[in-house]
Symmetry: C2
Subunit: 328 residues, 2 copies
């Protein structure tokens, strides 16, 4: 069994070995650019960890791991256009650094490349088709999640179940699919593969809820993104939706007004602080933590159900714990 | 053996039976919208015709045919954003009718759906993986062709071989891949599948050269698009590139100037007429026709090499002839 560190090194070395400097350069250079911006490589790590529960020759699963990383970066490239985002990991986004058309077309090519890497896994044709089927379902769900997220911007009646569905589709299913694809390449039994999928999916929802909490209440020194971003952008997160449901009338009206009227840039800090105070008065952080922990413990339950010795799951348990501590 | 008309009816009926009215509607409605705009359905017809050379149960190849049509419409949806095109088949383009973000994300979903339909072909896993491999290579080439086309806009040194490469990638390889995938589903031998691919590829180049000629010299009543569009948009087609190489100095300078200076909308007709006269003085239509016919006859040579009775290829020969007569 490999450690997470070994797995991340293997991914980095495989990724470095992929030649993206091809013609036409205007198509392939932006792909190399976004890949070298870094990131935590959580998703490809999950493919290798899923595989590693069943097989030792992790090289076999590396093309699939890279496929998942390509897919994830394809979604970032296109989402950044849709969100008009200037920066990604502190560097100019592709549509800013190059241009919008480039970001559209290079993103398309990345999605196709993801399929190509997935097909290059050295496995039985049945394994390949199963991996592609899992990937197809997940990729379409990620698009559906992104659409729901955009739809929410113009809606005033978003419910908490709808919000949870959105983060499940936009973020969580890819973690599940990464694990499931890795397990399938390792010839895992169907039941195991499904439990690993569920483990990843629930862990993903838990992870996103934590991200929502940190976005408003995280330590600016360690969070990595600007604290208060969700509030500035009027994101209808669990914190907002639950506060709106439970706040006293005056707080409810104030919260609604902050989110539904144009706020001048100069009053952005004031808005963030006011909304955070409302969140705190609603005790919503505790509620979010409860919900996060519920998904986390359900995720661990699925991991426990995977029919291999508990000792073989050490890296996976460690990964899940680290993710919730945000040390990976 | 089915006639082209029967094949087109089968495609229409399958396409009508596909439920695209799913949630979230903002993601799926634009897909239904672009599909119902129509079009000649040449590419899915090629899948069925390729299959029909080897098998009678065309239902088997219908999901792959629909996948190819989805892919083609995905490229149209994204190309229309990149080209800022207001109309497609006389109707508002998706990014105009809905918005730009919708056209990006619905296009992405269409590409994924194409893979999903391709995987739903009722065939051996080996056949599916082979079809996906052909599709992957072709899809990436189509992106490369689109990138070359965009690059050409800003280049002044485009050569005729580069132009032919661009139309091969952007247009022709998909015709080849459609036939090859159909043939593979029909369990054709590798040699046959390759000849059919080459037949489609060369027919595609021939078709595009004809489109270039018609774009400048076609009959406005039957061409379907506005005659002179390529000239208005300074498209570096074979007509332009060959004229630039062979024109007398005065014509050469005039042609260069028309293409490299801003021309007011009010002088558009004058520009089209002046450039057409230069084209005619260079005898470039004859040259384009010669080249078109060379590719066409080479294509027919590949079709002849397909190791089945010539009588079984009647629909295919008819299709190729109709395409060159532009009656399909």
């Amino acid at each position: 069994m490999q450690t997470l560190r070994q797995i991340l090194e293997e991914i980095q070395s495989y990724s470095d070995g992929q030649e993206m400097s091809r013609e036409p350069h205007n198509l392939y250079d932006p792909i190399a650019y976004i890949l070298q911006l870094g990131g935590k490589r959580l998703r490809p790590a999950l493919v290798l960890m899923g595989y590693n529960l069943y097989g030792d020759d992790t090289k076999k699963a590396l093309p699939a791991a890279f496929a998942i990383e390509l897919f994830h970066n394809f979604t970032l490239m296109h989402d950044d256009i849709m969100d008009n985002a200037p920066l990604r990991r502190g560097k100019p986004t592709v549509h800013v650094r190059y241009d919008r058309n480039t970001a559209i077309l290079s993103g398309d090519a990345m999605l196709i490349l993801a399929y190509r890497y997935l097909m290059s896994v050295d496995a039985d044709a049945r394994v390949c088709t199963e991996a592609i089927n899992i990937f197809n379902r997940c990729a379409l769900e990620v698009c559906e999640g992104q659409q729901m997220d955009m739809d929410f911007e113009n809606r005033t009646d978003v419910s908490i179940p709808e919000y949870l569905k959105m983060i499940e589709l936009k973020t969580a299913v890819l973690l599940g699919a990464a694990l499931e694809i890795g397990a399938i390449i390792g010839a895992a039994k169907q039941d195991d593969a499904k439990h690993l999928y569920e483990f990843g999916r629930k862990l993903g929802i838990s992870f996103q809820l934590q991200d929502d909490i940190l976005d408003s209440f995280g330590d600016p020194a360690t969070f990595g993104k600007k604290v208060g971003g969700d509030i500035s952008q009027n994101k209808k997160t669990f914190l907002y939706l639950h506060s709106l449901e439970t706040a006293e009338p005056a707080d409810r009206e104030a919260l609604w007004n902050w989110y539904h009227s144009a706020v001048d840039e100069s009053r952005s800090a004031e808005k963030i602080e006011a909304v955070k105070q409302i969140f705190l008065r609603c005790g919503v952080v505790d509620r979010a933590n409860e919900l996060k922990n519920r998904y986390y413990h359900e995720a661990l339950e699925n991991l426990r159900m995977v029919a291999i010795p508990e000792t073989a799951k050490a890296t996976m348990y460690g990964f899940a714990a680290d993710l919730m501590q945000r040390s990976v």
